[in-house]
Amino acid sequence: MAMVKVMVIDVGLGNIGSVLAAFERLGVSVELLSQPPDDADSFSHVVLPGVGAYSAGMDALISRGWNGWLHNIWAPLHKPLLGICLGMQLLSTQGLEGADIGETVSGLNLIPGEVIRMDPGPGLALPHVGWNDVHFHNSDCPIFRGIVQDGDFYFVHSYAFKPYSAEHIQASSHYGSSFVVAVGDSIRNVWGMQFHPEKSQKLGSRLLLNFLGLKPFSRNG
């Protein structure tokens, strides 16, 4: 297996240290970068973590040049990219959080969809905080290999990703109503998780290990 070296994008969006520590516990080489590197050759995997508001997240990525780097440098290589929590939401086409009324904020548009405020219904509070069951839809999804169906993962969020295409939905949970908690495009090798694998004990570690097992997609195999 080629050397695994994980790049964690750090643009000041909250609890990045826990993500870094989670990969270190798995024994892989990991580096925090606040600015995009000149080339992508020395990294095998990129992780975009973050908590906070969608608009603030996009501002932080764009101002440092990450939007262009992810599209023009990383994505064409088909190397694995994982968004966690806000990082997953930012993979979408557009979001409502932090936008003016009637407006939207443009996202990275790596997985088509939109991020909207959850509407769990009466008696259920937002944010949705705590452990919840995760139901994956495709047993062949490499991210969920070896993960028990309806296993619990840790969540903290008020907005949820709604992909435009059902084929990108990898897993869902229920909080008042169903919502998408994992997205993935195996061709582009872009993945996202609404929950926090780095805070989800054994199951979370397994999931990160599955991500590290992903190889650059190549049409020639």
């Binding site: 909250g14 826990s18 520590a21 516990r25 296993g151 903290v156 004990q201």
Partner: protein, 252 residues
């Protein structure tokens, strides 16, 4: 699970303690070792509160948070002595997921707005330590439960939520460490009136007390002393809660 951290009397080492009636403290051991045990036993979340709330203990708290965040994959909620926004950043930088505000917010309620605006309400837990007053009903006590704040519990909880609190951690001071069970009336009263998750704390002595707390509407039940005595551990407690018919995470 509520874990409290304080400086040992014997030397500059952090020691995990549990309290009774917010007074007498019993040392449990090294915070990191204990936290690892609690994670292995499937604790859902660890709440670490610095009881000393001094400048020296703050640095110790930061070190403990770093060590725990590096070693554990369990959500960490940390507080004790937070009075300024930059302290919140220091905790989050070291791997805390949420912060607990108490006396700092009572003294300066705008602190809640500041933290909520900067990091989102999901990051802000307001801890309310409550004593019942014969005339005034449930009252908020600050400074480690030692000073009457002059605020009613419900009014303060609502103000805190309006300002951006994402969760309320309520502790009935007189139940702390007593093992008599949670104050269910207080739990129910708050659940009925607030629109955010309530963590009920103070008094769990048997697994049934957790069940009663959830049945009263609490989103979570926190305990310290309970998990430090006899052979009680989160895993057994969890099984008992599941056996009572409540949905809770079990080992997989």
């Amino acid at each position: 699970m509520q874990l409290a951290l304080r400086k040992s009397f014997r030397g500059p080492q952090p020691v995990l303690v549990v309290t009774r009636d917010f007074g007498a403290r019993r040392a449990i051991g090294d915070p990191l070792s204990q936290a690892k045990i609690y994670e292995a036993q499937l604790a859902d979340e660890l709440v670490l509160v610095d009881l000393e709330r001094s400048e020296e203990s703050w640095l110790m708290l930061l070190d403990s948070v770093s060590a725990m965040a590096n070693a554990l994959a369990t959500p960490l909620t940390v507080g004790g002595g937070i009075r300024r926004l930059d302290q919140v950043q220091q905790l989050l930088d070291r791997g805390a997921d949420k912060v607990v505000l108490n006396s700092g917010a009572l003294a300066e309620p705008a602190l809640i707005d500041q933290v909520g605006n900067a990091y989102g309400s999901q990051c802000v837990v307001i801890s309310i330590d409550a004593r019942q007053d014969e005339l005034l009903g449930w009252q908020v006590w600050g400074e480690g439960g030692q000073e009457a704040s002059g605020r009613g519990v419900l009014i303060w909880a609502k103000e805190a939520i309006k300002r951006g609190a994402g969760e309320i951690l309520i502790t009935a001071i007189e139940r702390d460490g007593s093992g008599q069970g949670l104050d269910l009336a207080l739990t129910r009263e708050l659940v009925a009136e607030i629109g955010v998750p309530l963590i009920s704390s103070g008094g769990c002595g048997r697994a049934e007390h957790f069940v009663a707390g959830y049945e009263a509407g609490a989103a979570a039940v926190a305990a310290g002393t309970f998990f430090c005595q006899r052979d009680q551990n989160p895993m057994q407690c969890r099984s008992r809660i599941r056996n009572a018919g409540l949905p809770i995470r079990l080992e997989v």
